[in-house]
Amino acid sequence: MIHRFLDTVWGQAMNLLTAPIRHRRWIDLLVLAALVGTLAALWLVGKEWTAVQRPTVEIALSAWALPKYLLLSLIRAIAAYVVSLAFTLVVAYWAAKDPRAERVLVPILDILQSVPLLAFLPPVLLLMLTLFPRSNIGLELSAILLIVTCQAWNMAFSFYQSLKTLPKELEETSSLYGFTWVQKLRWVEIPFATPGLVWNSMVSVANSWFFLMSAEAFHAGNKNFQLPGLGSYMNTAVEQGSTRAQIYAIVTMLVLVILLDQLVWRPVVAWSQRFQVDEGGEVDPGENWLLLLFRRSRLLKWLEKRRNQRLHQRTPRPAFIRKAHEEFQRPGRLGSWVASSAMVGILALLSLGAFSVVRLLAEVSGPKWLVLLKAGGASLSRVLLSTFLATLWTLPVGLWIGMSPKWSRRLQSVVQVAASFPSSLIFASLILVFSSLGIGLGVSCVLLMVLSTQWYLLFNIIAGAQAIPADLREASTAYRMSLWKRCWNLYFPAVFPFLVTGWVTATGGAWNASIITEIVTTKQHTLRTFGLGAEVVLATEQGSMPHLAASALLMAALVVLFNRLVWVPLYRLAETRYALNR
């Protein structure tokens, strides 16, 4: 028995494991190493999570501790991403298929993806702490939940939109050939949604680095919480004034962002190209060195073969199961029952939430509201000023990069990495530097907002400049337009739709930044300026729920109003008058 086991399973496994070493197939070795690494990481995380809750963890500032912290932060982000993806698949699918749910869920998703979520982190946090008072799991889960709140909405919205815009003929073939809903989801809907989902995943993961600083270290009431991770490492480094450790952390983050870009996003984007429904258009073959290597990997080929064999052996389902399946595919009684009760649950939760919020808001006094409104005005003007400043330099530079094929090839990936580097990581350090130079927080706030939002703009403008048709550029040259005329007649109108998209993202980012930058606490001193972001943080520190609810909701309302009144009309203008593809 044992011999047979050794011969078959063990022997094969050893063969498989040693084959790469014998044949020096480096990529297989890498795959193996990654497997071992993942196992080790899981063990470490398990140990960490089940430990007894310690409100503050001693963070070691040595460079050798960094890989561990990086790993813990990474695992948090990955776990949050998995939750977000599951949320996306379930909620967006539900919203797309059930008209009643659609009417409630879609506006909620739309608002959630545009409001500054950092303002809503404190209440979520307080909730999680009361749910898990004992072990570290509560803290970890709340950190993960915080990250989920900054990842899930845009992904869900993108998936919902893909489901809604599935081309009619693909829809028709899947019903013509009798796909069940599961088959349709697997073979048609998810593939069709993949490019949008991949793009939004990149945005979401980049967002989660931005939120890491706040998710790993927070003050609530009189308690301070800290989880071991890259964010808290940076916090400690700033508090203790260790420049060396700050540089370590920044370099580590940069390495992480670059590695993710090279090892994850590029292969994934290259792979997702095949899901692009783009008949006739020029398709970038989208090759990536890592994807190529993987395609050469024997280990992965073997796994794939095993999977195919399993598929091959699959026996057909008996007729009665299939029948039952078809029953379910129609608006089944069970399905609609579940959906209805879930709907009722959501509505109940919403009204309960609204009720308690109204009760909380009633406690806020009139003068306080006035102060909050003024603070909102101050923050809004900072947000707009920073967007304006960022546009001022990114517009010419972006146009120049985008229209020079050579430079856009060279710089695009740099810009992409820069855009996903979380500027929140260096806010605190920079503010301290600025204040030692005698620059007030009011001004440095704006500068930091520029820092965190300029990349979105630059990225979009480059994309817009690349999309300017060659014949229009040739025409402007042929008619001898001056540079200024060319900008005014062609370049600016042509990139306008992209600019609007950039502005929307940039102002969203700037609002989030306002929460981190308007108030900074270090061991020696607290710096603060007047603004809505500062009000949110103060309310959290004082543990004053009415004040917190009022300032967070006011910020959300400001953003939503601004979207409806300014960005939506601008979008419409961009679509009707300045779209080049009509």
């Binding site: 050939y177 593939p191 095949r274 783009d278 052996q313 699959r314 026996t315 057909p316």
Partner: protein, 432 residues
């Protein structure tokens, strides 16, 4: 070659199809259709735009239920998908993320066949259309003709009794279409195997006559079945044989008498009060195309044949038909039988300079009640008529038409005649 009559595979009985139109109207697409699909036949559907050909195919496939009447499959009323039908789409409808092979296999997997059989049948189907060697290719790597082959292979893989094709060759270049058509005929000709029947929407009379045993002629909105023409010729058919030419002529006559009846289209001055609200539906033709038609007629000595126009100008027949209808409505051409000839007014128009042309055009527009209504409305609204108001008006006055499309044509004609200006961004019409 008249086949002995056997019971039909499928039957449409008194089928009527209506869709909810925009702005609360009802769009009548098909009206009282009776049609059967017999074993071992090729049935072609021809008709102008908006005669509901594609809708008819979708009803047959069971993709949607008819508003009234029923679709029967082997005598049983259809409830849901038609089990005997596979469909080939005009736009191919291939899944771009699947290889050729996967595109075919996926429809077999949906039927829960064991994996071995899935592979075998997919392989057979791919071989049948001559795509061996392309199994691993993605649709984007293929030419349009090859894509449509994959579409055909996918349909054949499920072994359908009826192969339904919606203008399968219209997006494929002429030579490839010829080859593909011949191959499909060969596959169909094997009486031992499915598909037993082919039902196909065709955009050319010649194509229909080359393939079909019966040609069903539909006429325009709402779509009704005008007649069914039997094609008793042995295959392969020669499109230059006198017999063939005679049938082409016959179909041309049916077509024109249905679409351009020899009665006055624009009734002169509505006399009765009952006709107060009646306005004429506009054929969706571009003013540029109408001008082009007149110029072409001028080069032909002022007279031509409807089908000559189509073949000489390489414009799709349906478009020529719409353009001729529009020109006739404006009294610029006349259409006795199949001939198209310039009216005296039309001659004056062609020979005039641009300014005079615009004057003539404007005068002709104001002969139409619809444009007089618009002018009146503009006057009532003190010179600024909103798009929304006009669309509402169009929807009530022309319940059978798509108001957005009518509006588009109306604006284009009116702009050319300098009757009014339209500002898209503000959505208003103002007098010139």
């Amino acid at each position: 070659m008249q086949l002995p009559y056997t019971s039909p595979i499928c039957e449409l009985r008194g089928v009527q199809m209506r869709f909810p139109g925009p702005r609360g109207g009802v769009q009548r697409v098909l009206e009282d259709i009776r049609l059967e699909v017999r074993p071992d036949e090729i049935l072609c559907l021809i008709g102008p735009n908006g005669s509901g050909k594609s809708t008819l195919l979708r009803l047959l496939a069971g993709l949607m239920p008819p508003t009234q009447g029923e679709v029967r499959h082997h005598g049983e009323k259809l409830d849901g998908l038609n089990p005997g039908v596979a469909m080939v789409f005009q736009s191919f409808a291939l899944y771009p993320w699947m290889t050729v092979e996967e595109n075919v296999r996926v429809v077999l997997r949906a039927r829960d066949l064991p994996e071995g059989e899935v592979r075998e049948r997919a392989h057979q189907a791919i071989r049948k259309v001559g795509l061996e060697g392309f199994e691993e290719a993605f649709p984007r790597e293929l030419s349009r003709g090859t894509k449509q082959r994959v579409g055909v292979a996918r349909a054949l893989a499920v072994d359908p009794e009826i192969l339904v094709m919606d203008e399968p060759f219209s997006q494929v270049d002429a030579l490839t279409a010829e080859a593909l058509r011949a191959e499909i005929m060969d596959i169909w000709a094997d009486k031992e195997r499915n598909p037993s029947a082919i039902v196909m929407v065709s955009q050319s009379i010649r194509e229909a006559l080359l393939m079909a045993d019966r040609v069903a002629v539909l006429s325009g909105s709402p779509g009704t079945l005008r007649t069914i023409v039997e094609v008793p010729m042995a295959r392969p058919r020669d499109s230059r044989s006198p017999e063939f030419m005679k049938l082409v002529d016959h179909l041309h006559d049916i077509f024109t008498s249905a679409e351009l009846p020899d009665v006055q289209v624009t009734a002169p001055i509505p006399s009765a009060a009952a006709q107060e609200d009646q306005v004429e539906p506009l054929p969706m033709a571009q003013s540029g195309d109408i001008l082009g038609l007149l110029e072409f007629l001028e080069t032909q000595g002022g007279t031509s044949d409807l089908f000559q126009v189509a073949s000489h100008t390489h414009v799709a027949f349906e478009k020529v038909l719409t353009t001729v209808k529009a020109a006739e409505m404006l009294d610029l051409v006349d259409t006795p039988k199949r001939a198209v000839l310039l009216t005296p007014l039309g001659k004056r128009f062609v020979n005039a300079n641009m300014d005079d042309r615009k004057d003539l055009w404007r005068a002709q527009l104001l002969e139409l009640r619809l444009f007089r209504v618009v002018q009146e409305m503009m006057h009532l609204e003190e010179g600024e008529l909103s798009e929304e108001t006009l669309l509402q008006e169009l929807a009530t006055r022309l319940p059978m038409e798509d108001p957005e499309k009518t509006f588009e044509t109306l604006v284009a004609w009116g702009r050319f005649g300098e009757l009014f200006a339209y500002r898209e961004e503000r959505g208003v019409l103002t007098p010139e």
